[in-house]
């Protein structure tokens, strides 16, 4: 059960090897989370992440595999995760996604479709499956990693950005649908996070780290937030950027 501070005792992580996900798990386990289920596509890195969670104090960290390229398997992946967690889950963290390669993704229709599948279609299907579970439980939080790239989509990464925009809007809507059920959704909008995924890419202003994002997430769980930004200042930055005239927005660097 989540306690008064929104601290979970059991957690499922979809894309459990993501650096942000690992940082979140380190924090929740330190805060008394004992059951952690990690799902991903690479058995080797999953085993690493699981060992890290056990070292931090988790009881037992089952890992399982899924393919985010195949949305028809999303329900099954979620079912397996819940079963591995013992049936009840306090927090489901959806960290699935990839940045892609914009120059290819915007010209190759198969790549475009694949990006939208991994970043939007699969996570949305998995969230619907998880939401049904949480609704039956009468409690639980779905935490989904969106991105500021989806708040206002830029020329430079519009394939990734639009997929996150879709996921973000979907998640907000799902959160509304879950009102009154005891379950809820928290949308996380990080800015540029220095991770393996972004290695070698030009840093954006307000660049941050996986640990800062993880802290924003556990703080958000404690306060019952529906949307969190990381770092927090981005909320105000984007309140302005969102409303800039397109002619100016287009000329901004990055």
């Amino acid at each position: 059960m989540n306690d008064a501070f929104g601290r979970p005792q059991s957690m499922v992580v979809l894309a459990g090897t993501s650096e942000i996900a690992r940082a979140v798990v380190r924090r929740t386990v330190a805060d008394r989370c004992r059951t952690v289920v990690l799902a991903g596509r690479n058995p080797t890195t999953l085993a690493e992440a699981a060992a890290e969670a056990v070292a931090a104090g988790a009881d037992d960290v089952p890992t399982l595999l899924f393919d985010a390229g195949d949305p028809t398997g999303a329900r099954d992946a979620v079912d397996r995760c819940f079963a591995a967690a013992g049936g009840e889950v306090d927090v489901v963290l959806v960290a699935v996604g990839e940045l892609g390669d914009q120059s290819v993704d915007e010209t190759d229709p198969e790549r475009t479709a694949a990006m939208l599948t991994v970043n939007f279609t699969w996570p949305a299907a998995a969230m619907v499956a998880a939401a049904a579970r949480l609704r039956t439980q009468g409690h639980g939080r779905l935490v989904v990693l969106s991105s500021v790239a989806g708040v206002r989509v830029r020329r430079a990464n519009f394939v990734y950005g639009s997929s996150k925009a879709g996921l973000d809007a979907f998640s907000v809507g799902l959160g509304e649908a879950l009102r009154g059920s005891g379950a809820g959704v928290m949308v996380v909008r990080p800015g540029f996070v220095r991770t393996k995924m972004t290695l070698g890419r030009p840093e954006a202003p307000f660049a941050t780290t996986a640990d800062v994002v993880a802290e924003a997430i556990t703080d958000g769980l404690a306060s019952g937030a529906e949307v969190v930004w990381a770092p927090g200042a981005l909320r105000w930055v984007f309140a302005v950027l969102k409303n800039l005239p397109a002619t100016i927005w287009r000329r901004l660097p990055g």
Partner: protein, 460 residues
Amino acid sequence: MGDGWLLAGWGRTSPSWARVVTPADPAELSVELSGGEGGEKGAGTIARGLGRSYGDAAQCAGGTVIDVGRLSDIGPIDPESGLVTVGGGTSIQHLLERSLPEGWFVPVTPGTRLVSIGGAIAADVHGKNHHRDGSFCGHVTSLTLNTPSGVLSTGPELDPELFWATAGGMGLTGVVTDATVRMKPVETNRVVVDTERFTDLDGVMAAMEESDSGYQYSVAWVDAAAGRGRAGRSVLTRGDHAAVSDLPKAHRDRPLEAPHPARVRVRRTAPSGLLNAFTVSAFNAAWYSRAPRRRSGELQTITAFFHPLDGIDGWNLLYGRRGFLQYQFAVGPDRADVVHQAVRLLSDSGTPSFLAVLKRFGSGNPGPLSFPIEGWTLALDLPLGPPQLARITDQLDEMVAQAGGRVYLAKDARLRPELLEVMYPRLSELQEVRRRIDPSGILCSDLSRRLGMDGARMAG
């Protein structure tokens, strides 16, 4: 079947959804406990009275919550012994409305009249007279418990293991459908109160040790939010039921009028942050300076002395959307140092804390999960919001556990599960009773699940 909705404790911190049923009589209740009419089997069932436990004790996510509100019959009060049999859903408010005019007061009352008798037993509530009279279950001579293995009668002599496991067992042994309680004879509805103000904790604690035994009721309010040097200043109020001869002449012809229900109602959640370090310490300071340095023989009403907040319906909404925690612990008589440490920790960390309540407990009773143990108890009222609060309360747990103390489960919303058995070393006695009367594990609550009290059941 019935409708379901979101339920939370009085602190409003962790709401969860459950199907809610309101059985009209114990027979209807039995159907629920035998697994329901094809409802969500396996998701559990727990009773709920007036929802005054602060944490998640009377909610059961995804399962069934049995609202006992309709089990509220009050039998005749025996004029010799004061024994009365009441439904488990009867509130102390209603019982007093009936009993006071006949000259009977409840043997023990918590800080609110708006608790059900079933809840008072499940939490084994205590009041300002614990040092003399013990907790609520010490005044219960028998009760009827609706359990998954049927309707059982129990009392201190009849199946005492079941009775004492139920006393403070947080509803996990069954639903109290009725209980026989020994009431206390009183002449009036007033209390004669002596008030004394102290500049520090040492002073008030010494006064309590020295002369609590001269009063039936005793409690101190401590300011834990004041800055260094002033934290711990306290107001001690002690009293006894007034005799008719204590009343002014004008009141002597109607000495036993029952207290009124609330007159003021809070309808909306206050803005978060209304109760912050500044407003809370200002409130505490104003309250301290208003108290007399010393005053004796003041006549107070039952509401003013026992239930000061019952005049405002829904006062918990004043804590804003995020709600609040109550943190209450008990430690042995030689561990006054933990009380000092706790006050210092809150004060030094600038954690807003409303008037803390300090009380000396008399001996505990045989209930394995009954909270009171002989010594000191301190109750803290903590609005959610300060980022350090989670850490501070975890630190308090460690201090309390190391001192051999415990926290009060009726108020808990965040204890680290590993510490439950450290604080309640006789937990296994409750579990043994639960295995006997509830072999398939139907009875559980968000509290029991959060604290890992349901063993392998929930892992299925």
